[in-house]
Symmetry: C2
Subunit: 479 residues, 2 copies
């Protein structure tokens, strides 16, 4: 059957407003966030109900048409865009963006999977609660994508990743079966927790159409400090001390190397006066929903010891909301700073906390020996063992060419180092299409075999986002 016949059949299912087949309008759906690859499709479908999603999946499966589920299309790993074959359709959840319920007593929010993260955050806040998932893309990424990539971000240290927030799920399997378990229970041990399979599955096991997320009390007080790290400051020990003495009120421990801070500063129209110490800086924040705790007082008490020990050269406490905002703006402008400088090759490294310093030492030496002129931008959620270890694209060099060269050479050396320290090549960005070869290189064989079993169990015909993560058993690797 020709693709135009299929498009007509899909149109019957979702209506005219639910189908895009004009190449110009489809363009944004087939190019990944980092613009490293452009795929091809013959239709972008935009269902409005779970039933429509199930109908689409059944029809596609019947004709062997591959499906690429898409939320906000903010994947860093090409997990949300089709391959070049032109035989996969894109199913965008962008019209399924209803907030179904906020339950303030149960502290939960139930949403359509296409809900933009920011909108869900706002709905929770309106009920006096916090949806503790916060990341750079929050204004455009969607909850289904957050689940598909087990999104992390800025609140992991205190509240965990998306997995830790997920209470209930609604999803359509590759044969059109609908899993409907939108319960808002904290505890529900009744056999395998099927929803866990979808977390981090990047659309390869089915299409998540709805989710229930846990909420937390909304912080009403914050204390924020900018720490200039002294030479030789032991990052992991500093973190352990602050965690312990803040009694888990610590919500952020964000490390930034001096170069990253400088890049961000250059990119700001109203440049920050915040500076790095010899080993960079750490942004520390405590948050509390209680009227009975003085967090500034606590911050001062907690920091006295590491200042005394000479780990911190200088600590600046935010004295106002605008000072706090300025500290965060500097941290959040780093990616923009990299972009202005001609971009960066990103390495989303995670190592055990006890190996962070060792990784920084070894990786730094590797970069220098690879090319003494390369510059790094290193920052990240060190409180979770997560470093964004980015190699800056030199001025005047083609970004995509450089990226491909580094990713096939230096990047592997860096990942080897992370792996040797018990770390990983992807802390929070996922695998998608771009990092499949890394999964094969570093994944435990038993674990990969189990992953392929799971893929086979849910999607034996490889309908769902084929080409991402793993293939079913029996299929030859498509790489």
């Amino acid at each position: 059957m020709s693709q135009s016949v299929h498009v007509r059949a899909f149109r019957d299912l979702v209506g005219d407003g639910g189908v895009i087949d004009d190449p110009e309008r489809m363009a944004v759906y087939v190019t990944d966030q980092r613009q490293l690859s452009t795929g091809s499709t013959f239709a972008v479908l935009k269902p409005t109900t779970t039933k429509q999603v199930a109908d689409i999946v059944r029809l596609a499966a019947h004709h062997g048409i591959g499906i690429v589920p898409q939320g906000g299309n903010t994947s860093y790993c090409g997990g949300a865009t089709p391959d070049a074959s032109g035989r996969q359709i894109v199913v965008s959840l962008e019209r399924m963006d209803r907030i179904r319920e906020v339950d303030p007593v149960s502290m939960s929010i139930s949403v359509d999977a296409g809900t933009i993260l920011k909108n869900a955050q706002d709905a929770a806040a309106a009920a006096g609660l916090l949806l503790p998932l916060s990341l750079g893309a929050e204004g455009s990424c969607r909850i289904g994508g957050n689940i598909g990539t087990n999104a992390g971000g800025l609140s992991v240290l205190r509240y965990g990743m998306t997995r830790d927030l997920l209470l209930g799920i609604e999803a359509v399997l590759a044969d059109g079966t609908v899993i409907s378990d939108m319960r808002k229970l904290r505890k529900n041990n009744t056999g395998y927790d099927v929803k866990q399979c979808f977390v981090g599955s990047e659309g390869t096991l089915g299409i998540v159409t709805g989710a229930v997320l846990r909420l937390a009390p909304l912080p009403t007080r914050r204390a924020t400090a900018w720490l200039k790290l002294a030479r030789g400051a032991p990052l992991a020990d500093l973190l352990a001390l602050i965690r312990r003495e803040s009694a888990d009120l610590l919500t952020a421990f964000e490390f930034m190397a001096a170069r990253s801070i400088a890049l961000a500063t250059e990119a700001m129209t109203d440049p920050s006066t915040l500076r790095a110490g010899p080993e960079g800086a750490v942004l520390v924040e405590f948050a509390s929903s209680s009227r009975h705790l003085d967090l500034d007082e606590l911050m001062e008490a907690v920091l006295a010891e590491p200042i005394e020990a000479g780990w911190i050269e200088d600590a600046l406490l935010a004295q106002s909301g605008s000072q706090r905002t300025a500290m965060w703006r500097l941290r959040e402008t780093i990616p923009e700073g990299e972009k202005r400088r001609n971009g960066s090759v990103k390495h989303d490294i995670s190592v055990p906390l006890s190996s962070i310093q060792r990784f920084l030492d070894l990786a730094g030496a590797q970069v220098r020996s690879y090319d003494g002129d390369l510059e790094l931008s290193v920052y990240g959620h060190v409180g979770d063992g997560n470093l964004h270890y980015n190699v800056l694209v030199p001025a005047g060099v083609d970004r995509i060419e450089f990226t491909k060269r580094i990713e096939s050479s230096l990047s592997l050396q860096l990942y080897d180092t992370a792996a040797a320290l018990g770390g990983t090549f992807s802390a929070e960005h996922g695998v998608g299409r771009f990092k499949k070869h890394l999964l094969e290189r570093y994944g435990d064989l038993g674990r990969i075999a189990a992953m392929r079993r799971i893929k086979t169990a849910f999607d034996p015909a490889d309908i769902m986002n084929a080409g991402a993560i793993v293939c079913p058993l029996g299929e030859k690797s498509t790489r």
Copy 2:
């Protein structure tokens, strides 16, 4: 081949000390914790290494011999003991109880799966850290069983269930494949998180042989209060208020009905003077690892508002370690109090926090209308929406007969009520063999289908703990 030939082959794999085939010595391995059912086996194997476990599994799979993995044999649902066929062997992990590593900087502990929970707690504490998993059976249950049942207990409110603590896993699949992913990473998004499948799987997908668990700073200060609930006190609102104003320092919110408190008091040799209010009592605890917070002061400030509102009739703050211990001892003696009174039929209910009061009202009416003379013992981790809603076995009545009668009649009414409120029949005890029919009755069809796919993916021949949770696809239900 005869079973004695098999026993000889197993003896070759694990040595004389690793095989029990004397019926008398096997007895404790085939009877469940609640002594509701006694199964049969021809051998109990006690491997000492992961390789031995893999060898056992391969040999058993080759001959189609079923395997029941066993940790501390403390399942409330018959999940750890063999069926009556005599064709399943028991593989006990009790000799694999080595603590492999405590990493204080990474805040993690790596253990053999047969490690007794208490021993792991102690090893963490010796390094100044907390393994935040605590439950009644901690002196005998083992980490592998905690993972297999996603154990909850007393620390869930602050630290989550076993799933939330699990960083790494080592497991043997039904074909002898070993998954080895003992990394201690907070963040590692590299495809499906295979270890999640084992959490709550009760030995039906493979045998967990090792685990890495996250640790937390060890609390050094606690504030503990006994709240007598006033008539009409809104439990969920009280919880929400205390959570908010304690800024997540809340570690326990344990509800006890008056009857449960009386039962515990009767069972104590040195009876407590603590009493219930008209709606029972709540044990509240804050904990902190910081030297800079005064938790008693915080507790007083937090409780002022609900006292003012008339929700709490009286609040007693523990003034010493021994007063604190006395409060916890009362809470923890409730199961013993029930046992002394002739036992209870346990219902491990969970409902959304917003429906707890409604459940108590509806369920109470159901019990009264079923039999006006029945007495209840109701208590639990209400902070997680979890109620142990137990029907006391009347004096002079046969416990097992009564249990079976209630479980086939009144229990179903109570579970119906929980289900209608978006709740579940098993918050933390699991499914095992005893609650399989409930999974079929209340489970979403799509979810059960997905569970059977997962079972099929990992164990198509139904070697691993057959009869518990679900069967592979293609098999008729064994119920």
